[in-house]
């Protein structure tokens, strides 16, 4: 049979697309900080991914507003897509600041933080993809718990890094640059936790 109207992507498909873009950007940032080559190009690519992800948010919002029966509560759909969008916004901001501040060499802490972030987005992919089949709730829960653990780890790395930064009394301006970059990455990890919280409550509600 020929389809006259192209099949619309489901909410789950759109979320999966969005979270994969987030994960892609997080890995691009982590790789950038390990290799530290073509910083400007990589930052631009991350910006382009962020832009594509923005389009998806709009698509999801349009869909939620024009769909009569949604598979999840409207406000949960809205909260989930916004939180996913926040993650990628902070990833983009961190990459952008590396360029803007003309960072010459990544610090140990930034490499560590961005790898924690990449791991957290990996788990976020798992959690979001689990939504399709809520019977997998143990697997979703596991991913959410792991994200929480990573968030704590991120906090600790960030705090230790800040303490060290403000001990470098001879380079206060460098410290201010790094503080902002750490802050962006740490916030991105926090937003992964927000996604995990939303997913957990959605699963409970639909159990």
């Amino acid at each position: 049979m020929i389809r006259l109207v192209p099949r619309q992507e489901t909410f789950f498909e759109l979320f999966e697309k969005q979270v994969k873009m987030v994960n892609h950007a997080a890995h691009a940032l982590a790789d950038l900080l390990v290799n530290f080559e073509n910083v400007e190009d990589v930052a631009l690519k991350i910006k382009a991914t962020e832009h594509d992800a923005d389009e998806l948010v709009h698509e999801i919002m349009r869909k939620v507003n024009t769909t009569f029966v949604t598979p999840l509560d409207r406000e949960d759909i809205h909260a989930l897509t916004s939180a996913l969008d926040d993650i990628i916004d902070f990833i983009e901001a961190a990459a952008d600041r590396m360029v803007l501040y003309e960072i010459e060499e990544p610090s140990e802490a930034v490499i560590k933080l961005s790898s924690i972030l990449a791991e957290a987005t990996e788990l976020t992919v798992k959690a979001v993809c689990g939504l399709r089949d809520m019977k997998q709730s143990p697997a979703i829960r596991e991913a959410c718990i792991a994200i929480n653990r990573l968030e704590n780890q991120g906090d600790q790395v960030n705090r230790a890094a800040l303490a060290k930064l403000f001990q470098m009394r001879d380079k206060p301006i460098e410290a201010l640059k790094w503080r902002e970059i750490y802050d962006h990455i740490e916030t991105a990890i926090d937003k992964c936790e927000d996604v995990a919280d939303i997913i957990e409550s959605t699963v409970l509600k639909n159990a």
Binding site: M61, T66, E75, I173, A175, K177, E180
Partner: protein
Amino acid sequence: MKRFRFMPTEENFFELFDDIAQVLVDAASFLHDLISDYQDVETKTRILRDMEKRVDNATDDICRRLNISFVTPIDREDIHSLATSMDDVLDYIEASADRMKLYGIDKPREEALELAEILVEGTKLIRTAVSALANFRDIDSVLNPCIEINKLENQGDEVLRKAIRRLFKEETDPLEIAKWQEIFDRLELATDRCEDVADVLESIVVKNA
């Protein structure tokens, strides 16, 4: 005997929103004046704080009426998000001015004025969209200003990047850098919050179209 009303009156939420939108425009213009004519900072920031309190009260008022109104013109949660998102814009406008005072800024940096201009534009667009919402027959009269607000937010990002680049290039005093990093951040967040208002308005009109 207590009298029951079978048809509770519909509160005029739109009028309340119009009022708040007008205070947002006033506050943004006031911030712009403060930055372009940087005198009597103490008095001017106090006036801004009063405006902020007024909107806080209006927001509380809306939320309270929401609890007792039987019929609302648009969904309850939309009224709530619209009120709180407008409140957030003003919070950041006020916080920006407050930081300038608090940190004893002598002379505002150029880009602060540019960001304030964007905020004046943005709040005017919010006012246009909000008043179009009250008597909305065509969806575009609400959507068009929202699209403009989105563009302004991108412009705000660009001004922020320029501001930060110049700050780190030209300023040698780390404390000044730290102060301005925070002030610029607040100003830019205010433009972000304008975009949040636009998002709420967009979803309201699409839903009620």
